[in-house]
């Protein structure tokens, strides 16, 4: 084709033209479709809803944000943030040994076992994972059976009697919600922690030992600080994903709402898009602050 050659020459001579051609389609898609929708949503949080007609008043007001700060809604926000924080800490504690072993000791085929051992749960279906916990936590399910076989049913009952954590059964308790969140987001913590641990040079650990540090001291003063960016990177995922989820607490947990459920119910049956939008701003603001803090700690290099 005769026009190909001049076109090719033009692209070679004008790298900016090539760059523009490459960038326009994706930026148009993300900029128009995605950012456009996002700003349209955020703009609606400054509208309010007429209490009598139930219609949206298209005037700038902060009324919806005042509503967001009433005690019932603050309670929802606080509950969600607490859950996100607890899930993040637990995920870090469980993920660390896996990541540490995979990064420092796993060799040859074990390396692949650990890699796929984290990747498969990470990528398997979110709903199937939630479903599996519905099976586990059900009253007639495997966990109750396990406690019964070990003659520990009294222990389970005693735990379920604890006011906030327990409930009628594990599948309608705060603990159940916590376990499912932890399970579903755990792989997102393992991978960045492992990546950061793999970058800790062995010589540094040996040097610490040579200088007289006990293994525990080496861990606390050398390995942990170097792995911290990875933990923070992982916590971005676990924290953000917990903040925005509305399916897990709906399926396993109490009737007390989380932010995601509040957004869902306000935009759906209630038709209160402004309040739903204002609720949606909460995770955006929290994650914005979180990302800003994480960036200062250098967490993005560990992603």
């Amino acid at each position: 084709m005769s026009w190909l050659r001049p076109a090719s020459d033009a692209l070679w001579r004008h790298p900016r033209l090539l760059l523009a051609l490459l960038l326009v389609p994706p930026v148009a898609w993300l900029g128009v479709v995605y950012l456009g929708s996002l700003f349209a949503l955020l703009a609606q949080s400054f509208f309010s809803i007429d209490e009598f007609s139930g219609l949206i008043v298209h005037e700038f007001t902060l009324k919806t944000y005042r509503e967001l700060l009433n005690p019932a809604n603050l309670d929802i926000i606080l509950r969600t943030v607490t859950m996100a924080a607890v899930v993040t800490v637990a995920a870090a504690v469980i993920a660390f040994p896996i990541a540490y072993y995979a990064a420092r000791y796993a060799r040859g085929p074990w390396k692949a076992v650990f890699y796929l051992g984290v990747m498969l749960p990470l990528w398997s279906s979110y709903l199937v994972k939630v479903y599996s916990w519905k099976l586990i936590l059900a009253k007639e399910g495997i966990l109750s059976w396990l406690f019964e076989t070990l003659h520990l049913t009294w222990l389970l009952d005693a735990y379920l009697a604890i006011p906030v954590l327990g409930g009628n059964s594990l599948s309608v308790s705060w603990t159940g919600t916590f376990l499912v969140f932890l399970y579903v987001w755990l792989p997102f913590m393992v991978l960045p922690v492992q990546a950061s641990l793999e970058r800790v040079p062995l010589s540094v650990i040996e040097a610490s030992g040579d200088l007289g540090a006990a293994p525990g001291q080496t861990f606390r003063h050398v390995i942990l600080p170097l792995a911290l960016p990875g933990v923070i990177a992982g916590s971005i995922f676990t924290f953000s994903l917990t903040l925005g989820d509305y399916i897990i607490p709906q399926i396993i947990g109490t009737s007390r709402l989380f932010i995601g459920q509040a957004v869902y119910s306000h935009q759906g049956t209630a038709g209160n898009i402004p309040l739903a939008a204002a609720f949606a701003v909460v995770p955006i603001v929290i994650m914005g602050l979180y990302l800003w803090a994480a960036k200062r700690k250098g967490a993005f290099d560990a992603l």
Binding site: P97, S125, I142
Partner: protein, 268 residues
């Protein structure tokens, strides 16, 4: 302590962690064969294969599966084109706003899915676009771009610029260079990214609940079963099949990107 031996405590903690990640999934496989149909009773009273036949003859499951596959295929295709273009631009040159572009690509997956979902839904409402197959695809393609982009960027970074220059010096034009030098170099990364994007779209539920009208993708079908269980045995079988189906692209992507840590054309 010798530094090449893991302590017993560490081994146990790592093994327990891995078990915690896998036992629930294994349980799904057991439940697919149970004879109990009214509850989630453990241990299963008996084992049977009949639910596979029941599931096979369910048109609603087939429709949901077919919709999910079509949505995933088209979304992956769009994401592969847009993600590769973006990756090529970002890795080729440094320009003003480069960081912003990376952020823009990551944003749909960094923000909670519910925000992407509700934003798209209210935008469709404002623009009076009726919900359809294409509104689902629009949402899925948006958050799939990042997966392709990540894979492509990593590979572009490992592809030496001297290869491209050499191709040009030898008389190939930009298109020939793309066809014969760049594409073969990034092909496996694109394929891996595409597989992951496919798996991501196939499994997506949060954004889909907002962008689908009356249609049910497979995850939406499962969600309804989770909220109001009606046919537990069929759900058990579908869950098991979904686990098996998502494992294939993951294993595929793993084998395709294995051993690509070195830069192609590095020694030149």
């Amino acid at each position: 302590m010798s530094s090449d031996r893991a302590s017993l405590g560490l081994k146990l903690a790592a093994a327990a962690g891995l078990l915690f990640m896998h036992l629930p999934l294994l349980l799904i496989f057991v439940y697919a064969f149970t004879t109990e149909e009214k509850s989630y009773q453990w241990p299963p009273p008996g084992f049977t294969l009949k639910w596979f036949a029941v599931t096979w003859n369910r048109p609603d499951v087939w429709e949901a599966l077919s919709l999910s596959l079509r949505v995933a295929a088209i979304s992956t295709l769009i994401a592969m084109v847009l993600g590769t273009l973006c990756a090529a631009a970002v890795s080729r040159s440094r320009f003003f706003g480069r960081e912003t572009i990376s952020l823009l690509v990551i944003l749909p997956i960094a923000l909670p899915g519910i925000i992407t979902g509700i934003a798209l839904r209210s935008a469709f409402n404002l623009a009076e676009i009726p919900f359809s197959f294409w509104t689902i695809v629009l949402g899925h393609a948006t958050f799939c771009i990042v997966v392709v982009y990540n894979n492509a960027v990593a590979r572009f970074r490992r592809t030496s610029a001297s290869l491209i220059e050499a191709s040009m010096d030898l008389g190939a034009d930009s298109f020939q260079t793309f066809r014969h030098v760049i594409l073969p170099n990034i092909a496996t990364a694109l394929l891996a990214g595409g597989m992951l994007a496919f798996a991501l779209s196939f499994d997506e539920v949060i954004v889909t609940t907002f962008t689908a009208g009356q249609q049910a993708t497979l995850p939406i079908w499962m969600l309804e079963e989770l909220v109001r269980p009606r046919q537990r045995p069929v759900t058990n079988v579908v869950a098991m099949v979904v686990v098996l189906v998502t494992f294939l692209p993951i294993l595929g992507a793993y084998y395709l990107t294995r051993g690509t840590e070195s830069v192609a054309g590095q020694g030149k």
